[in-house]
């Protein structure tokens, strides 16, 4: 068989195709889109190279293979099941012909990524495969599926996740930082916020201390990913992948690129704290991550595995095999 096919069984709205993002037409109102977690997106692409990934949200996903296919799955807290095998990502594995891979969210984490060897998503739209969930721009028929490469079945390989999702989220000054008095900026970085249930690929809303600006109404200007807008109610909205390119609330800060997944992978009602950093620290953190992604480390088991233990002959292990005992 020269080709194979994968398709998403019963796709839900949180499953989309994403590449690094759609650039070059933001000035015409075209949203950038792209992955919510660029680190896990890039890691999936490093484990199995593909022009774009399938992003999976809290609804999980079932992906069926016709022909054996090679995939990489990344995403914190998620589990991957194929047949009787259950794995925790990051993992590289094959889905045997006719089988279904199930991706299920765990108790933490919001977004998982699947890359498929040799996958053909069809023509890009304005140079990108990214889907804008808000407008449907670039959307593809996931249920109809995509052609991809047929491979030979191999044992799964597990890798270290190079990212720590816990801890405060580092921020840099935003274009309207001057509209927030110093005491407000300090308080913003010393008190906890909670993620409100009002969140999607466009943005995450925060609940917490009121972040007050001199004015909450500005003549709109451009918005980058991670920019934090503060409307009149003082409850910030972090603008994420599917954001509109322009907006009219003052922006106190921009989440450092290296810390964006930390926010994006947090769930509604979870706590989040912010801390100010400078451009140099942001650069160091970003480059360290890119290095870690470029050299994915095979996972070394640190925990006790009762299943393996049950299979080994403890006596033989201690005394050695007869042929070695002379």
């Amino acid at each position: 068989m020269s080709g194979a096919r994968i398709r998403v069984v019963d796709p839900n709205p949180l499953i989309t195709v994403q590449d690094a993002g759609r650039r070059g037409a933001m000035r015409f109102g075209v949203s950038e889109s792209g992955p919510m977690d660029w680190v896990r997106y890039r890691l999936a692409g490093r484990l199995v190279e593909a022009p774009a990934a399938i992003e999976v949200g809290l609804g999980g996903a079932r992906i069926a293979a016709e022909g054996t296919v090679r995939v990489a799955v990344t995403g914190p807290g998620f589990t991957v099941k194929v047949g009787e095998t259950t794995l925790t990502p990051p993992a590289r594995l094959t889905i045997p012909d006719g089988e279904v891979m199930t991706i299920t969210p765990g108790r933490t984490g919001m977004w998982a990524y699947v890359t498929v060897e040799g996958i053909d998503f069809g023509p890009p739209v304005l140079g990108s495969y990214a889907t804008n969930a808000r407008t449907g721009f670039g959307r593809r028929d996931l249920a109809a599926g995509f052609a991809c490469a047929a491979v030979n079945a191999t044992a799964p390989e597990l890798f270290d996740d190079p990212y720590d999702d816990t801890g405060p989220v580092a921020v840099l000054p935003g274009p309207q930082q001057h509209m927030f008095p110093p005491a407000i900026r300090e308080r913003f970085a010393s008190e906890p916020f909670r993620l409100s249930p009002a969140l999607d690929r466009m943005g995450y809303t925060l609940e917490g201390p009121r972040v007050e600006a001199i004015s909450h109404d500005i003549v709109s200007d451009g918005i980058v990913e991670g920019a934090m807008q503060v409307p009149g109610n003082g409850q910030p909205i972090v603008q994420l992948a599917d954001r509109a390119p322009t907006g009219g609330y003052p922006k106190i800060c921009v989440i450092a690129a290296a810390d964006r997944p930390r926010l994006a992978q947090r769930r509604p009602h979870e706590e989040v704290r912010f801390r100010w950093i400078d451009i140099e620290e942001a650069g160091r953190r970003r480059r360290a991550l890119m290095d870690a992604i470029a050299h994915p480390a095979p996972r070394i088991r640190r925990e006790f595995d009762p299943e393996i233990l049950a299979r080994v002959n403890l006596v033989g292990g201690v005394w050695g095999h007869p042929e070695h005992t002379g």
Binding site: R23, G24, A25, M26, R27, F28, G29, V30, S31, V125, L126, T135, F137, L172, P173, G174, P175, Q176, Q177, I218, V219, S220, D221, G222, I223, V224, G226, A227, A244, P245, T246, G247, K251, V254, I255, A256, A257, I279, A282, G283, R286, R287, M290
Partner: protein, 234 residues
């Protein structure tokens, strides 16, 4: 004159910055932003990603592992006197009849003006594309006669067709997508504002100016079938 004269540089994280010419809507500023957009896009070093012009500022995005704010600014040429020539002036046929300008009469009542006066002022205004946002090709315009300023309507209306003209808090908007709106629908054009397969994908650049030429409902329908009737002002 240098592009940065009178400008304020604002930070926007590690991969972007903003060149701001003012805090209010001003068509002279809009013109200068359009010129700056053209200059920075033409001269920018490798690592420049794109720039987003708005009513009063330019957001510049770059790859911080390839270039820097300083390198992009250093590559800017002097500001030339004919920077404004980078923009185009357009005439756009538009129908202001009641059946396609569904909220015009309600707007006129709320403004305490005869509906025909509202139509005349819509047609006499000199608009400028201030920015795109909300959706692809969704164009915010300055220059609407300020006597036509109204707050949002009490209730949003069901989706309006793409090509509609709406009045929004001292601005006018050309709608590229069918959508519900809480603002006043005061006219319709035969324009397809966004088409990813067309070059350019939108007919107007930020900074371009336009006026509406009133046409009948029949003429609007003919234009919708046979082309949008858009033309450059001589």
């Amino acid at each position: 004159m240098a592009w940065l004269d009178g400008a304020t540089l604002r930070p926007s994280g590690e991969a972007a910055f903003v060149i701001e010419y003012g805090e209010e809507i001003d068509q002279t500023v809009g013109q200068r932003v359009a010129g700056l957009y053209a200059a920075i896009s033409a001269a920018a070093p490798e690592g420049f990603v794109e720039a987003v012009p708005t009513f009063r500022s330019l957001l510049v995005l770059f790859d911080p592992d390839v270039t820097s704010k300083d390198a992009i600014l250093a590559a800017l040429p002097e500001e030339s006197a004919d920077a404004a020539a980078a923009t185009t002036e357009w005439i756009v046929p538009a129908c202001f009849d009641a059946d396609v300008a569904e909220d015009l009469e309600e707007a006129a009542r709320n403004l305490d003006l005869p509906p025909d006066t509202v139509r005349e002022r819509l047609a006499a205004s000199h608009y400028q594309i201030g920015m795109y946002g909300f959706a692809p090709g969704y164009a915010y315009m300055s220059g609407i006669d300020q006597s036509l300023t109204l707050p949002r309507r009490q209730k949003p209306r069901p989706p309006i067709p793409a090509g509609s003209i709406i009045m929004a808090a001292g601005m006018a908007v050309l709608c590229s997508v069918s959508m519900p709106t809480g603002w006043y629908v005061v006219g319709r054009t035969a324009l397809t504002l966004f088409d990813p397969d067309r070059d350019p994908m939108v007919p107007f650049a930020v900074g371009d100016r336009l006026t509406f030429e009133p046409v009948s409902r029949e003429e609007l329908e003919r234009l919708a079938r046979e082309g949008n009737g858009l033309r450059r002002a001589s």
